[in-house]
Amino acid sequence: MLPPTPMTLSEKIIARAAGKDSVKPGGIVTCAVDLAMMHDSSGPRRAGKMLDQLGVAPWDTSKIVIVTDHYVNDPDPGSVKTQEITRQWVADKKIGNFYPEQGICHVVLPEKGHLKPGMFCVGADSHSTTGGAFGAFMIGVGATEMTGVLATGEIWVRVPETLRVSVSGTLSDGVAAKDLILKLCGDIGIMGANYMVVEYGGAAVRAMSVDERMTLTNMAAELGAKTGIIAADETTAEMLAAAGAGDVDINAWQGDEDAPVARTIDIDGPVLGPQVAAPTSPENAAEVAEHAGMSLGQAYIGACTGAKLEDLRMAARVVRGRKIAANTRFFVAPASILIHEAAAVDGTLKILEDAGATILPTGCGGCIGLGPARLDEDMTGISTTNRNFVGRAGPESSKLYLASAYTVAAAAITGEITDPRELLARGVGK
């Protein structure tokens, strides 16, 4: 008998979902879907409608999760209608896993215990890649494709090649996963991992919290990747157990060390400094010093990428005992209700509010230019979100820099792009 072919974690999951012993990059296989996630924008009003037009029922309602996060807290009649359509469809189809206005889908999904290592998942949103932080293989699809999944429970995939990113050591104080992923965007560009899966590993990734790992897999989308993935470990298992995911088998879902990969990138963790991505692409990333002093009208901590509990705590460390600059407004929109509550209990929100932050209800909000954090005409802002394309977070005349929660918080205090390590080094309030 031939020895088993070494496979990456993604290949193992795809093979399992396709009912095959092994798969190879470039091959096309059909996979059974373990979980399908949709939100109010892509879900019932688009994929749901197409499914109804086909006249078929969802293949398995227990495997469908619907979250409303995009057009929430928005008085626009179109948004209100979208919420109505969503609620109605969920009721009609008896979808049990429905989380209306509880947070952003990519954060709510693991929070409610829906993800586990080894699962094959799809989401009707491009940042569904986030689910890879839990050792699952999760890809983003369009509404037409989601219709196919809802109807059949299956999807075809072209097995992606793997880009292995290995980060040594630990990140230094004031530097976060966001800086790491922005650096990668700058180094290889927004098509740099086209069609690949980005597998993150190395001591610095192992040392990261689940929140931080989610930032890496979330922004695999900004590298053009099919998805991102991080093999589960004790940290993952602990978080998932607390979320009620049940038994988690981390040993069964590890890649083989000797599996061939298309490309490897090694990053020296300790030397990485804070990054900012200048308008109008994440790939315009550079050392914070390059843009230091750029005056800003708004600092925003929000989105699935940058408003998890750990992001809020990073921001609180920077602003503690300080006041925001007169020229800059500062908004914080926690990525979920549970995060909002936890940040209220541990005092994080109070620190942010005392500094002058306005806490906004959870949802996509400012990330897509909705609500109070929408940028004004000609305004330049900085945010913890993942995309800064023209017109995404406000009118076309607005400009957006992307950075970590440390750097965005530092900008709120000084009113300009600032290396957060300067404020952290000075100590509380100085």
């Binding site: 086909l54 006249g55 369009g142 494709e145 196919g148 086209n194 053009g224």
Partner: protein
């Protein structure tokens, strides 16, 4: 085997790297416009003659990163409406690749696509993963498409395929 799974023979239209979805489907082509009108603007910024001159059964050939940009489904839709029957590229942007197949057009990764010249007669066999250049006599390798995807393509794309499979009486 249905007709669509058989090799596709046609004239090659050759483009370079990084043909993006804004070039394939410019925003004004679908704002308040029907696709029948909009498709006439396909690639107008790159080759103003393309939409008017492309013939039924022609083959679209491109370099790297074909279809980069947004996920708009008009990009493959226009190519199909204009008569293109197969798309070859050195590499595809992933969403465009999926959209193209789901719209019922075979899309093949062909690392040697650069060896095809404009106007060459080519014969594409998606199942075998070969591209015969009838003009030069060369045979190029491409990544084959599995039979089940070709069935979906033959049915006219993902939605038409689902309709046929799931609601046969309709």
């Amino acid at each position: 085997m249905s007709a669509e799974k058989e090799p596709i023979e046609g004239r090659a239209w050759v483009f370079g790297d990084n043909i993006d979805t804004d070039q394939l489907a410019p925003v004004p082509s679908y704002m308040n416009k029907e696709p029948e009108e909009g498709c006439k603007m396909c690639l107008q910024a790159v080759d103003p003659d393309f939409a008017a001159s492309v013939g039924k059964g022609d083959v679209f050939v491109a370099g790297n990163n074909l279809g980069i940009g947004s996920s708009r489904e008009q990009a493959p839709q226009y190519l199909k409406m204009l008569g293109i029957r197969a798309v070859l590229a050195k590499s595809f942007a992933r969403i465009f690749y999926r959209n193209t197949l789901n719209y019922g057009l075979p899309a093949l990764v062909c690392a040697e696509a650069g060896r095809i010249n404009p106007g060459d007669e080519v014969r594409v066999d998606p199942l075998a993963g070969t591209v015969e250049n009838l003009t030069t006599g060369e045979t190029l390798e491409a990544e084959p498409l599995p039979e089940h995807l070709l069935t979906m393509i033959a049915d006219g794309g993902l939605l038409a395929h689902l309709e046929k499979k799931l609601t046969p009486g309709k």
